[in-house]
């Protein structure tokens, strides 16, 4: 968790979380050159697994060029060239988070290239969908792109940051979907449990935002508690917060949950 302090790893361990995955994402500013990405991918694949291991937490990650930095095509091209060498590292599960932010032509081009890398390597994919008013349109564009490449299976793709207006279409197309919890700006534990109740507990992975902004790595624990408060059976809670992510992530031969 490159944006977080070591205290957060301790808090996760105390709360019984023994395995995490962290996507490559936008650091809050646009990087100036490809060296910044080398350092970042090294951090994700070497430094963070070691930091997590101090607390007996297994740390996996996803490598990719985020959509916000796709608007610099020259830099994007350089980054796309270095991505495969990091995908080979032992704790990297696939390409992610890749996707769209404002649904621009440059973003689509970079996404297309990365989908191609995933298809050639048979890697799994973690998709970032746009925020706020751009989400519905972006989610549809992304799904069309993936479904049009017959080498890619939706069952090996998780479309993240889904919300009430996108979940149905994502599920209907056979993808896994993620709900990301934020303390006050986007999805709450209450709405996430509503989604489980409305759409069912299959193919859903609920995850905590743990980035450089206001976020809470323990949000999944709080969400599980919200399910418990409503009286949902322990077996369903276990499925949503343990069996589901294990089933999705376990499609990577590198992943183990116990």
């Amino acid at each position: 968790m490159v944006s977080r302090t070591t205290d957060d790893y301790l808090a996760l361990a105390i709360n019984g979380i023994h395995t995490i995955t962290e996507p490559a994402f936008w650091p809050g500013f646009d990087r100036k050159g490809v060296d910044g990405f080398h350092d970042y991918f090294h951090h994700l694949t070497v430094v963070e697994p070691a930091r997590a291991a101090r607390f007996r937490i297994r740390h996996y990650c996803w490598i990719g060029l985020n959509s916000k930095e796709s608007e610099n095509p020259e830099l994007a091209e350089e980054v796309l060239k270095i991505i495969p060498q990091y995908l080979d590292r032992p704790t990297v599960l696939g390409l992610g988070e890749i996707g769209l932010n404002k649904n621009s032509l440059n973003e689509i081009k970079a996404l297309e290239r990365q989908l191609g890398i995933a298809a050639e390597r048979n890697d799994m994919i973690l998709v970032h969908t746009p925020h706020l008013e751009d989400k519905l349109k972006g989610t549809r564009i992304i799904m069309d792109m993936i479904l049009s490449d017959k080498r890619l299976s939706p069952s090996r793709v998780l479309i993240d940051h889904a919300e009430e207006h996108t979940i149905g279409e994502i599920k209907d197309n056979g993808f896994w979907f993620g709900l990301t919890l934020y303390p006050n700006s986007k999805g709450s534990p209450e709405r996430a449990v509503d989604a489980v109740e409305v759409f069912g507990p299959d193919n859903i992975c609920i995850n905590s935002s743990a980035d450089w902004s206001v976020s809470d790595p323990l949000a999944t624990v709080k969400c599980a508690n919200e399910m418990r408060r409503r009286g949902h059976p322990e077996a369903t809670i276990h499925k949503v917060f343990y069996e589901n992510p294990k089933a999705f992530l376990g499609q990577s031969p590198k992943f183990r949950a116990e």
């Binding site: 608007e71 404002k102 649904n103 008013e133 989400k135 519905l136 349109k137 009430e164 409503r230 369903t236």
Partner: protein, 103 residues
């Protein structure tokens, strides 16, 4: 496995969530009062975000069901094609295009 009905009853849900959501409603009322009270109030009320917000409030009462999904759709960009360039653009939380002629 589908479970459209929560083990909690609607009465229990009301008991559990009423006070939290009463407080949220007061936050919204207070936010709108603030817009009324501050200078340049009419400019703020002419902004597409304010207009969307008011439309969403009405929708919550009037649509009768699937309120969350309907509010999400109300705030969404419903155009189809990609944009030319995203440099310098940010998300606003509402779609300005909904207030352009023809939409």
């Amino acid at each position: 496995m589908s479970m459209e009905i929560s083990p909690m009853s609607a009465v229990q849900a009301l008991e559990t969530y009423f006070l939290d959501n009463r407080a949220r409603l007061l936050e919204i009322a207070s936010f709108l009062d603030r817009i009324d009270r501050y200078k340049e109030s009419s400019a703020a009320k002419d902004d597409f975000r304010y207009k969307s917000f008011i439309k969403a409030l009405r929708l919550v009462i009037e649509c009768g069901k699937d309120r969350t999904q309907n509010v999400q759709l109300l705030f969404s960009d419903l155009s189809a094609g990609p944009i030319e360039n995203a440099a310098g653009l940010k998300a606003h939380g509402a779609w300005e295009g909904a207030f352009r002629e023809g939409n």
